[in-house]
């Protein structure tokens, strides 16, 4: 008998079946999340299937956030917020308010996700939870609305592609650079229907906030999930961030003889900071191929790179400096807790002094309909996950994707800049996060 991948282990555990890639299982879901855009549709499906004696199977595991249009930017958005508020109150579900943060960050900070959990969300970046060793995946509204009622959902057990990175990452190279490189190599649909499993010594050395980046963007290669083996760091992070005591389950790791559809291996030392050119995340190149490109707007935030450590990297570079004259810098913390830490540690002050616009927590301009949208002809660099035409506003705008360090260097000079040109002690986020959490 061959060994199992983490995905197969989690789906076996949650379905009570001996799950192998290609099987179909019905599995019990540990947590479910939806937000102000997909929430109302999900509520419709739930009410349609349950009828008169409607009840959530496990209200304590159902989470609603208001993050995409928060604060409401129009009447339709405000009405959708009210639909969510009323439903959550009536059925006893967890509901978070505007400025509490982006769904995926709130789920993690509030302790809804543990290693080995199966988590579904009506949002494609629900893959983020894989950074904690959980199986997180995005689903449709019929899926989520019925799972509200039963606590279960059907899954096809996905095959797994493994990405191995060995050795030390050079200064200026982060998880964001790794995932952009992976997507560039595998292609935008290269992992469709599959789990991306990330391993190797460079991945094990990553602090948790960076592992979350790898998992978050698994969907940008079509992945159903993206998972990093949980370890001591995961346990420490969850204890400090969410007050959870989870311990380390040695069984929650891929077996040595697990079977993979493909294995990609990298030497950390060979990697340079990456930038994905407009208008597809798979257009990843070494930053050197884009340096000198004039940038109108730099956006730091999102469920990919809007955590405290990301924003702190930017503040460290910009402390005592000014954002370049013809460039706007918009910073949007991923959650209220991130905002508060920026406030307490002087990060917010440093950024505002440098000329940044600092917004309340949420998705911000990530999907182009809220504050900070791009106009015709604007060229932007964002720490976000997608750069399709029109994603951050006008169909005539162009978006480059990069790490927070690249964003910081770019904001300082007004053109895409290699972060390695800046004194590395200013943003050594590996060092400050050695135990998982920056104080």
């Amino acid at each position: 008998m061959t060994g199992k991948t983490i995905t197969e282990k989690i789906l076996s555990e949650k379905s009570g079946a001996d799950a192998t890639a290609g099987d179909y299982v019905e599995a019990t879901v540990d947590a479910m999340v939806t937000h102000d855009v997909t929430g109302p549709l999900t509520i419709d499906v739930f009410e349609d299937v349950t009828g008169d004696d409607a009840a959530l199977a496990a209200p304590e595991n159902v989470v609603f956030t208001l993050d995409h249009h928060a604060p409401a930017d129009g009447v339709q958005a405000a009405n959708n917020h009210n639909i969510v508020r009323e439903f959550a109150a009536e059925y006893g579900a967890n509901q978070y308010e505007i400025s509490d943060g982006i769904c995926h960050q709130v789920m993690i900070e509030e302790g809804f996700v543990e290693p080995g959990d199966l988590v579904i969300g009506a949002d494609s970046h629900s893959t983020t939870y894989g950074g904690l060793g959980a199986l997180g995946t995005g689903v449709g509204s019929t899926d989520l609305g019925t799972a509200f009622a039963t606590g279960e959902l059907w899954f096809r057990v996905p095959e797994t592609i493994r990405f191995e990175v060995e050795g030390d990452l050079p200064d200026g190279v982060y998880a964001k650079d790794l995932i952009l490189r992976f997507i560039g190599d595998v292609g935008f649909d290269g992992a469709t229907y599959k789990t991306a499993e990330y391993g190797g010594s460079a991945i094990r050395d990553l602090p948790i906030h960076q592992r979350l980046v790898l998992s978050n963007m698994a969907i940008e290669m079509g992945g159903k999930a993206g998972i990093v083996e949980p370890d001591e760091r995961t346990a420490t992070y969850l204890e400090e961030q969410a007050g959870l005591e989870v311990g380390v389950d040695p069984d929650l790791a891929a077996d040595d003889d697990a079977s993979y559809e493909a294995v990609y291996t990298y030497e950390g030392a060979d990697l340079a900071p990456q930038v994905s050119k407009p208008s597809n995340p798979e257009n990843a190149v070494d930053v050197g191929e884009t340096t000198g490109t004039d940038i109108d707007q730099v956006f730091v935030g999102t469920c990919t790179n809007g955590r405290y450590e990301d924003i702190r990297v930017v503040a460290d570079v910009l402390t005592g400096e000014r954002v370049a004259p013809n460039t706007r810098l918009i910073v949007v913390p991923a959650s209220r807790a991130v905002y508060q830490r920026c406030l307490e540690t002087g990060v917010l002050e440093a950024l505002v002094d440098a000329g940044a616009t600092f917004q309340s927590a949420g998705c911000g301009p990530c999907f182009g309909t809220h504050q900070g949208a791009l106009g015709d002809g604007d060229v932007a660099l964002a720490t976000a996950n997608r750069n399709f035409p029109g994603r951050e506003g006008s169909m005539e705008s162009r978006v480059y994707l990069g790490s927070p360090a690249t964003a910081a260097a770019t904001a300082l000079y007004g053109e895409i800049t290699d972060p390695r040109e800046i004194d590395t002690t200013r943003y050594d986020d590996h060092a400050v996060s050695d135990v998982g959490v920056v104080r």
Partner: protein, 167 residues
């Protein structure tokens, strides 16, 4: 030969994405009939008027890629399409189709079928039969679990039954 249905094949190529099935300007509605009136609106404007209940959509590789909009399979249900046969499907379209009770078959070679040909499909046995050329294309049969889901009309009726039996 026991078949689930016989109808005309509307044949499409590779990589038909959800934008081509349901252009985003029609997403304001979630009513299947209304969506059905705009199925393949830009790609094949004659589709919505010409399709007869019981006809099939036949496609090449990666049918239904792009956004996760459930409106795309819903528009085919609304148009009266009895099933979609493709060489391969994008993940979320396949999942949404099954959830909505729309039969889908993964069937190598069907891209060869001529547009307008009369075909039959048998979901249980897993094949497509081209009556003009007298060729049978074998499909990957749906796993019993998914077959059951489709037979029960999709995930909503399936869930209702599950909730009732739990009472």
């Amino acid at each position: 030969m026991s078949v689930d249905g016989t109808g005309r094949a509307w044949v499409f190529g590779d990589d038909i994405d959800t934008d081509q099935i349901t252009p985003s300007r029609f997403l304001v509605s979630s009513d299947p009939d209304e969506l059905g009136e705009h199925a393949f609106n830009d790609l094949r404007p004659e589709f919505a008027d010409g399709v007869e209940p019981g006809d099939f959509v036949v496609a090449g590789e990666n049918f239904g890629s792009g956004s996760s909009r459930e409106h795309a399979p819903l528009s085919l249900v609304g148009a009266g399409v009895a099933g979609v046969v493709a060489q391969s499907f994008a993940r979320i379209f396949f999942r949404n189709a099954i959830n909505l009770g729309l039969p889908v078959l993964i069937c190598p070679g069907v891209g060869e079928i001529d547009d307008g040909t009369e075909i039959s499909i048998d979901v249980d046995e897993g094949f497509v039969y081209d009556h003009d050329e007298e060729i049978r294309y074998d499909a990957e049969p749906l796993p019993p679990f998914l077959q059951d889901l489709v037979d029960q009309g999709g995930l909503k009726p399936y869930t209702r039954r599950k909730l009732e039996s739990a009472d």
